[in-house]
């Protein structure tokens, strides 16, 4: 007998006569009552010791350039909005064509990506690796991750975010949930930021609207 048949047989035997418990009546994706989603998101991202800046749409290109500072080589996903990089001065920009090796990525000091969702309560950014975010390795190997999130992409808590994820999973795409820079508490449970992933996470939160209205 195959192990598959053996295991399934043992499962069935183990459950013979057992009370079969129905799934709970759970309301999935319920929105959280968060009065100030933007304010909470900023507070919670900062809590992880990530950098977060609120910018107006017309300030974004300059903010991206500032965040990249003196980085001399930057990698970007193929679908990234070109205008975001218009203020870069001197840095070499590699657009990922899918052929960059891990070593190539290791020679890039920074990456700029968009995001799919921002979760206020947990201060989490979710990438679903569409073309404006690129394949997973891009936002992993370089040491600085500049991530552009729009206010309209923010949700209150985890349930709403999981609901939005369904489309990505159905399209066969992976997802990466990022809450601050990489960190470890493995030595005496003392938190140290910066292990294998990007040691610096710089979030640029873009205000909604056309940029002409003053924010409330």
């Amino acid at each position: 007998m195959s192990s598959r048949a053996a295991i399934l047989g043992r499962v069935s035997a183990a459950l013979a006569g057992a009370d079969r418990v129905p799934p709970p009546r759970q309301e999935y994706g319920a929105p959280a009552a968060v009065p100030d989603v933007v304010g909470l998101f900023v507070e919670r991202v900062e809590d992880y010791r990530a950098v977060v800046e609120q910018v107006a749409p017309q300030e974004l290109a300059a903010a991206v350039a500032r965040a990249l500072g003196g980085t001399d080589r930057v990698v970007v996903p193929p679908g990234l909005e070109g205008a975001w990089l218009s203020a870069l001065d001197g840095a070499e920009v590699l657009v990922d064509d899918g052929d960059l090796s891990p070593d190539d990525l290791d020679r890039c000091g920074a990456v700029v990506t968009a995001a799919a969702v921002g979760i206020a309560t947990t201060g989490t950014i979710v990438l679903d690796h569409r073309p404006d975010q690129g394949r997973r390795a891009l936002s992993l190997v370089p040491d600085l991750h500049v991530c552009v999130v729009r206010e309209s992409q923010l949700v209150g808590d985890v349930p709403e975010s999981v609901t939005l994820l369904r489309a990505a999973v159905d399209a066969g795409r992976p997802s990466t949930w990022i809450s601050g820079p990489s960190a470890t508490s493995d030595i005496e449970l003392e938190r140290v930021e910066g292990v294998h992933g990007p040691r610096t996470l710089h979030v640029l939160l873009v205000r909604d609207g056309d940029g002409l209205q003053s924010p409330a």
Binding site: I7, W177, S182, I187, V192, G197
Partner: protein, 482 residues
């Protein structure tokens, strides 16, 4: 110290030795106190933690009592998404499958994401025997591996080591298996983490095969989830060409949306954070992104035995958060090694005897590694009634020892049963005790008892019998006036 748990002595024997290690006790006391505080704070932030726990328990109970159909659904989803599914009845079969898959790639090393399932099956040792080096990439696992040590905590396997010990291990061992630490290395955790970053980066960049576990396996989509902090998980799940994930059959959740419950419960219960730094989800193969050769090994290894026990079954709800370790007064003093398994603490006390059976000395002793204070059951995010299961398993161990030559304890219990069965016998016994109480006079407690009873009395202060029992007092005071 050996890397395996085979032939471990009973918990009580190992605990006695562990209690003598004052350094370890201090390390554990500090670490568990820190994490308890963090957990309590972030749990209090949620409006309805109890509701989340109840939902999680209900989802897991639904999974466990329909495991046959959910496993078939998972297999179908995974296969549709381009993954190859393997089934392993036990550790030996899982190791054989994985060794074969690694060999087929022509490489002789793998990078590993921290995974309880691969530790449970002793994968590293099996790969080593086949001439394949397995590099642990979680910082704590790296400390354990470099120190030729054993893990002592589910989440923080090197929790028994302090920074000075870790520095020494790095200086002594790192250079022998790859990039050495810097010549000047202090015991500052930041410097130690940096040394690990440099040491492991060359391994990540050249790795062709990775082995992981999974925190969750979603039946309706075939999505696997790994929850982590350091980015070593992302490195392993993303950069190599081949990914092999070992998944216990109880890790299934029915729907993608069920993750909303567990992704709120797990980080808060384990590291005491609102969310862990990185969570990765992947669904089979994504063309142009990550490993293109994806394997999933579904592992039984005793889980169906636990499933067959209608009471013990709920232990399979466990999501390996380790909150129960951090609140356990026994774990905090004894540490993880005495449990003789990769699953220490209260959850280990109920999981190991069910997964491995109760034939070995250590597995028979584990249900007794508890004061039954109940703290573990209170913090469990999936509502496992750990104290109830401990008592249930004690019953099982006792039942299995019936027949044959009775032990001293069994004789004593038989005697007590005879005594309690008839009130006249009990009254007579109490008369005797009153006499004893008067003889012992002013003493409050009985000291050391002679012979085999010494083992019992050495650890306990038994009160001396009263000079007058309640029954005697009642007769004297109220009996006549009723």
């Amino acid at each position: 110290m050996s890397g395996t748990f085979l032939g471990m002595p009973s918990f009580q024997a190992a605990a006695k030795e562990a209690l003598g290690n004052a350094q370890q006790r201090r390390n554990l006391e500090h670490a568990t106190r820190t994490i308890r505080g963090k957990r309590a704070q972030v749990v209090a932030e949620l409006d309805d933690w109890e509701g989340l726990r109840r939902t999680a328990a209900a989802i897991k109970d639904n999974v466990l009592t329909h495991l046959d159909s959910y496993l078939l659904q998972l297999e179908e989803s995974l296969t549709r998404a381009g993954a190859t599914v393997h089934w392993a009845s036990d550790a030996e079969e899982a190791n054989r499958i994985i060794t074969g898959l690694v060999r087929a790639t022509g490489t002789d090393e793998v990078v590993k994401v921290k995974s309880m399932a691969t530790q449970e099956i002793g994968l590293n040792e099996a790969l080593e025997e086949a001439g394949i080096r397995a590099w642990e990439t979680d910082l704590a696992e790296l400390i354990v591996q470099l120190g030729h040590d054993r893990p002592s905590h589910i989440l923080v396997p090197a929790v028994h080591r302090n920074r000075a010990e870790i520095r020494e291990i790095f200086l002594r061992e790192m250079g022998q298996v790859g990039a050495p630490p810097p010549a000047v290395l202090t015991s500052d955790p930041r410097e130690l983490a940096e040394a690990a970053r440099v040491h492991l980066r060359e391994k990540f960049l050249r790795a062709r095969v990775a082995v992981s576990g999974a925190n969750f396996a979603v039946a309706d989509t075939g999505t696997l989830v790994v929850v982590e902090s350091e980015g070593n998980g992302r490195m392993c799940l993303t950069l190599p060409e081949t990914l092999i994930s070992v998944v216990g059959i109880e890790k299934v959740v029915p729907r993608l949306e069920d993750l909303e419950v567990f992704l709120q419960l797990l980080p808060r219960s384990s590291t005491g954070e609102r969310m862990n730094p990185y969570t990765s989800t992947w669904t089979g193969v994504t063309p142009g992104d990550g490993p293109q050769d994806v394997h999933v090994v579904l592992l039984d290894n005793g889980r169906t035995d636990a499933l067959a026990d209608s009471v013990g079954r709920q232990a399979l709800r466990c999501i390996r958060c380790s909150a129960c370790l951090n609140v356990c007064p026994v774990y905090q003093r004894v540490g993880g090694h005495a449990y003789g398994s990769v699953y220490p603490g209260p959850i280990g006390a109920i999981l190991n005897p069910q997964l491995r059976g109760t034939t070995s000395e250590v597995d028979q002793s584990l249900p007794y590694a508890s004061s039954l204070c109940g703290a573990c059951g209170d913090v469990c995010p999936v509502g496992i009634e750990i104290p109830d299961l401990i008592v249930h398993l004690r019953t099982r161990v006792v039942d299995e020892h019936r027949g044959g030559v009775p032990s001293g304890e069994q004789l004593a219990m038989k005697g007590a049963a005879w005594l309690f069965a008839d009130h006249r016998r009990w009254e007579k016994a109490q008369k005797g005790a009153e006499l004893g109480g008067r003889v012992l006079g002013g003493k409050d407690t009985i000291g050391r008892l002679p012979g085999p009873l010494a083992a019992w009395s050495d650890a306990r202060d038994a009160p001396t019998p009263p000079a007058e029992t309640f029954r005697t007092w009642w007769k004297r005071e109220k009996g006549g006036r009723r």
